[in-house]
Amino acid sequence: MHKNIVIESKLKNIKGVVSEIIGLLKTKKADESDIFDIRLSLEETLINAIKYGNKFDKSLPVSIDVSCEENLISITIEDKGEGFDYKGVPDPTEEENILRSRGRGVFLVKHIMDKVEYNKKGNRITMVKRLKTPK
C-alpha cells in the first residue's frame, strides 16, 4: 500500500490525515500499541512541519507519503520551510532541560519509531516502524 497526501499548513488538517492512516492500519488489524506510536509520531511531526517548518503559511503545502508493506510502515513528512537543526535539539531528559516546555516531540518520535532520518536540509523526516504481527 502506498499513499501520498498533500495538505495546506493548517493544524485542523492534521486530524483527517491521522484518521486516514490509522484507519488503514486498523484494516490491517495493527496492534493498538503500534497505532498509538504511529498516531503520536504523525501528529508531532505534522505539527512541527506546519508550525515551525511552514510557519502557518497556508500557501505552503505539507506532503505526507506513506508506504506500508507487510509488517513495515514508512512515513515521510516534508514541508517547504528552511529546515531545522535536528542535531541541535537539546536532550529534554537532561536535568537542565527537564522543566522546559518544548523539545519532547522529536525526542519521543525517535524513541517510539524504529528508525528516524532527516534529509540534510532538515525539512523532510522519514520514520519507519516494524509492526507487531496481528493477533
Binding site: 493544524l11 500499541s33 498509538f36 498516531r39 503520536l40 501528529e43 508531532e44 505539527i47 529534554p92 531528559t93 527537564i98 522543566l99 522546559r100 516546555s101 518544548r102 519532547r104 516531540g105 525526542f107 519521543l108 524513541h111 517510539i112
Partner: protein, 111 residues
C-alpha cells in the same frame, strides 16, 4: 476532553476524560487557572480516562507542576494507562512527577 473537579478529604481531585493534546491543552490550562490561582495545596490528577497524550499535553502538565511548586503546592498523577505512562518514562518526567497506580494511593498519604 472534559475535566471534573471534586474533593476527597482535603485533596482536590481532577478527573480528566479524553485526550490531552495540542487541541485540549489550552482547556487544561484554563481549568487549572482557578485552583492554582487560589494556591490549592494538594492536587491529584486522575488520568484513568486519558488514553492519549502528546508533547503539548506533557508540557502543559509540567507547566502546572512548576506553577504549583512555586507556592509550595503539590500535584500528583494517578491511574495512568500503560502507553501514557511509557511517555513519562521515555521523557523521564516520571522522576519529576509523583505517579501513583490508584487514586486511593495518591490521596491517602498526602501530607
Amino acid at each position: 476532553m472534559q475535566i471534573a473537579e471534586r474533593k476527597s478529604n482535603d485533596v482536590t481531585v481532577f478527573d480528566v476524560d479524553g485526550d490531552i493534546d495540542i487541541n485540549s491543552s489550552p482547556d487544561v490550562r484554563k481549568t487549572f487557572e482557578k485552583p492554582i490561582g487560589e494556591k490549592t495545596a494538594k492536587l491529584v490528577i486522575n488520568l484513568s480516562n486519558v488514553s492519549y497524550i502528546d508533547s503539548s499535553g506533557l508540557a502543559t502538565l509540567v507547566e502546572l507542576l512548576k506553577r504549583a511548586r512555586s507556592y509550595g503546592g503539590k500535584i500528583r498523577l494517578s491511574n495512568l494507562a500503560a502507553k501514557v505512562k511509557s511517555l513519562f518514562e521515555i521523557t523521564k518526567l516520571e522522576k519529576l512527577f509523583d505517579i501513583y497506580d490508584t487514586e486511593e494511593e495518591a490521596v491517602s498519604n498526602f501530607e
